[in-house]
């Protein structure tokens, strides 16, 4: 394997700004960021509520959610596939082999991470600040917004972990998206396809671009939290 060819392929992809390639990168970002956004909107409040709520079977729920962080992407994909197939319960929506289906599958993958990590973060904060929050009249679910705000940096890391899981996976998007050229082809499914075509330098070159992209997004998030920390004290 010629490693120079890999870097050459990656370089050509980035410099060439081929519209087809940009569409693939754009779709990957759109699908993954949307999935993380949805998972955040659902998972942050739910995780915080789980941290504060006390109900029978709570430990079981927590253990299950923690275990779901290890859900194999291909299983999540298969589940969404059977749900959305024309012969499945949601078949009439005609959503199989669309970006929407890919987002749905990735939400299932990201949500347990966001809920589980939020639950842990908020629970720790609550045990630390319980007395203080009670003294200003914030108790129970009313303390959630404050706790989420105070834990924002740890929670940003939870969202980044979710982003990492979604952007790196191929099993789920391949099954529910179908890897349709120009429509549901993402960076990871393109890598799989180019590998099967035997174009290994191009596949690895795409891999380099994907890693660089993930690095950039993490750098932006890190910078934002640094600036935030400075202003918020």
């Amino acid at each position: 394997m010629d490693f120079a060819a890999i870097f050459k392929a990656a370089f050509a992809l980035v410099v060439g700004l081929d519209p087809g390639f940009l569409a693939i990168v754009g779709l990957s970002l759109r699908v993954t960021l949307t999935a993380v956004l949805i998972a955040g909107l659902i998972g942050l409040p739910l995780g915080a509520a789980l941290a504060l709520a006390r109900f029978p079977g709570r430990s079981v729920v927590i253990v299950c959610l923690n275990a779901l962080m290890g859900l194999p992407p291909v299983v999540a994909g298969l589940f969404v596939f059977l749900l959305l197939s024309r012969s499945g319960p949601l078949g009439p929506l005609g959503l199989l082999f669309t970006p929407t289906a890919m987002i749905a599958a990735q939400v299932i993958l990201v949500l347990p991470i966001v809920i589980a990590l939020t639950r842990q973060t908020v629970e720790d904060l609550w045990s630390e600040y319980r007395d203080h929050l009670r003294s200003v009249g914030l108790e129970g679910m009313r303390a959630i917004p404050t706790l989420l705000f105070d834990g924002r940096f740890a929670l940003a890391t939870a969202l980044l972990a979710g982003f990492g899981r979604a952007s790196a996976e191929v099993g789920a998007v391949l099954i529910v998206g179908g890897n349709i050229a120009g429509y549901t082809r993402t960076m990871t499914t393109t890598i799989t396809l180019e590998t099967s075509k035997g174009d290994l330098p191009l596949a690895l070159g795409l891999g380099l671009v994907l890693i660089a992209l993930t690095l950039a997004i993490n750098a932006v998030a890190f910078g934002a939290s640094r600036i935030g920390a400075r202003y918020a004290g």
Binding site: A23, R30, R86, S87, F97, G182, T184, S196, A232
Partner: protein, 287 residues
Amino acid sequence: MIATRRLLLIAGFSAAFAGLALAQTTTVAPPAAAGTRFITVSSTTSTQDSGLFGHILPLFQARTGIEVRVVSQGTGQALDTARRGDADVVFVHAKAQEEKFLAEGFALERKPVMYNDFVLIGPKSDPAGVAGTKDIVAALKAIQEKGAPFVSRGDKSGTHSAELALWKVAGIDLDQKKGSWYRDIGQGMGAALNTAGGMAAYVLSDRGTWISFKNRGDLVIAVEGDRRLFNQYGVMAVNPAKHPHVKVNDGQAFVNWLISPEGQKAIADYKIDGQQLFFPNATQAGA
């Protein structure tokens, strides 16, 4: 003031998010806007990996305005996708499986489109001593007798079906004879070629995928030109009686175009390094 700092912070985060959102909406001119006329075709990995679709689909779209979304799977899986109603048209290569699909009523007719042939690929070292021969059955017997490594697709694809049929013709009962030499990988054609290259094994491939395959390493064609290596492709539109939502007219338009002189010429015109990959034969009776 803490309050102002918080506001600043929130404003900063929102700006960052808005920036990201903007970045993605501008880079993604949605590949297919809502309302685009399209059909979904489930097809095989060979038609995709060989680049045939990349060549003919733009021609079809230019002629009819219909976008074709291709989901590439092994033939068995592609037929199952259509059975579930998730495709409008199937374009595959395993006549027996296609006829079963027809008999079940999932399509009303099957049209032959094109053919190419299978080739036995093997390492240059040729441990089974079959290189350059033309008898595929004798070659398989030699591979089994010498226990030379052989990679099987193992994914119910058209190529896998053809391979199993050839072992049967060779009188080799795989259930009894397969040992560590027979490596069933359950993956597509390209992956099977990659694997065969990695372990110096023999593998049955369609010629189209082989010609377009870029990671050959030490692999070469060992056996070709046997009449039994013929590989026919057929196309079927899914029967709306089974799945009322399928796009009958646009699906049929694709079938009609494939077997029309224009579509047949487009297929014949697809070449890599001057080599034609598929040979149109829509008019050949019984193909």
